[in-house]
Assembly symmetry: C2
Homo-oligomer: 314 residues x 2
């Protein structure tokens, strides 16, 4: 086990903290703390793998909570007989994603279970970040804008299709990416951010609406969707508003600066598809409601995702 850790894990994830190989590492910080387990199936999919996902997913939880990501822990649960070449590929992805996101893997643990007691590999990362801001929902008022940072649903679609769920082929690639480029927008007045993961945009915004004394209105025609997602979801009868992303966020920004923030986001490679998709509203709907102004001119109440399949999309 020790040799395995030295040869495979430390080699691929090398940094001064990890080199110590002690069970607990000392870090200098004032901190935000988060955790996620990753059980995605398949472990390799167009646009990423469980390694990129386990870094970016946890990094993004920190970013949207107002913290600059700094340190990750890494807990591996491996199925006996897992292909070591695949494991190494995943570790390389973890290292590359860590570098891209500016975080270090500082402490870790590996457990092995017998064949049939896990599906290849499950990964947990916990993340620590330096606090730079805090969401301030109490300042949100009618007229404030809702911005999404890019097209929706590619991650879910890429994973589901890679798994062969629908016997369909598309060019969809996961949007899995780190959202650190959003950190400066906290200073520019953004009130709230959330990464658009499980349950998709509709669920994330429903949960926001529940916490506000206003309604939210989202315009269907403004919601950015790639051709691949638009085509596949129409064909399959899936609502893209409920599909998870792993590299997109939704922001609430003051009306006065929303356009300039949108322009800034669009300048970044990961924000090119950003749009203002709606606003906080006091005239239509009731407080706590999330309403979709449909392309056909109607209004539809959006509810959070309730019955979840066992998706293993993250």
């Amino acid at each position: 086990m020790r040799e395995f850790i030295d040869q495979l894990i430390v080699k691929n994830l090398d940094n001064p903290f990890l080199r110590d190989l002690s069970d607990s590492v000392h870090l200098p910080l004032d901190i935000a703390f988060t955790t996620d387990s990753y059980v995605v199936d398949p472990i390799f999919f167009p646009g990423g793998d469980i390694g990129t996902l386990c870094v970016n997913g946890t990094v993004n939880d920190l970013v949207v909570s107002g913290a600059e990501p700094q340190y990750l822990s890494l807990g591996l649960i491996l199925e006996e007989g897992m292909d070591i070449a695949e494991l190494e590929k995943i570790l390389i992805s973890i290292q590359q994603a860590s570098q891209e996101a500016g975080v270090q893997i500082t402490t870790g643990d590996t457990k092995v279970v017998r064949r049939g007691q896990a599906d290849k590999i499950y990964i947990n990362t916990a993340g620590i970040g330096r606090i730079i801001a805090k969401a301030s929902l109490s300042k949100v008022q009618p007229g404030d804008k809702i911005i999404v940072t890019g097209t929706l649903g590619e991650h879910s679609l890429a994973v589901m299709l890679a798994r062969g769920d629908f016997g369909l082929e598309t060019e969809a690639k996961s949007d899995c990416a780190p959202l650190n480029f959003l950190l400066p927008f906290w200073e520019q007045g953004v009130f709230w951010m959330r990464d658009i993961t499980r349950g998709g945009l509709a669920t994330v915004l429903s949960e926001l609406a529940e916490r506000l004394p206003h309604a939210l209105i989202v315009e269907e025609e403004k919601i950015p969707l790639s051709r691949a997602v638009l085509g596949a979801t129409q064909l399959l009868g899936i609502d893209p508003l409920y599909l998870a992303c792993e590299g997109r966020a939704v922001l609430v920004a003051p009306e006065s600066v929303a356009d300039s923030i949108l322009n800034e986001i669009k300048k970044h490679a990961l924000g090119q598809g950003a749009e203002i998709i709606g606003s906080i509203n006091d005239k239509i709907g009731k407080p706590g409601e999330l309403l979709l102004a449909t392309a056909s001119g109607g209004l539809r109440l959006l509810e959070p995702l309730t019955s979840e399949l066992l998706p293993r999309i993250c």
Copy 2:
């Protein structure tokens, strides 16, 4: 999922941090950081369950690294169809163990995988502690004493027997417990601590020896073993020095204060079985060696555990 989390998880683990249910929590600290995944089989065993284990294991990693345990994250991977009553029992154990160890579960995540893709439940905890001391191996010198805080091997034995590995019955109960009571000994001059987990005392001390310019000598007759462990290991031909504990530690203390530290440890309920079992040595053996002075008067070189079965004992 949200209802499941509210009703089952937040209800059982309630504290002000967790109540927010945000994906990342802000904490005020200067910190140590650690993580472990727990895949113990069976999930309930004499003396504890996977819930007590996932708190104490991570708490103890912090204590022995010189940090006062403060906050834990909790990542659950559940097999579809897992008995909810069993899950709740585990969550109650987590909450009780957290209270006993003075830590709060501040952030968490739950994933569900299909039947046959996990064995009931796997848990990851990451832990954050306030740094109060640091091991100082450079100060260790010949004559310094090696102290174990209690009898060895009960945890491993209790789990293996509960699993039915040997068709044997004993009164062995896991030693799983938080080691916070050892924290004051950092101030009293202890140079180094380690919890005696995977690979047992022999592995932990071998790894220590490798890092020292001295040999370590341990006296077989001083090593505290319960009747249950002594009987079962003799019967089964297992060496108790390689059995994992989850509530025992080994300390290196200056010769001058070793006796007084031993007496202090023995006053604590979890330290009643403590003993000075050996010392740092320059006369016998070579630097980096761990030697066992056997009951029969011989000297035996102890190596770290190399070939690990897939034990799932933690």
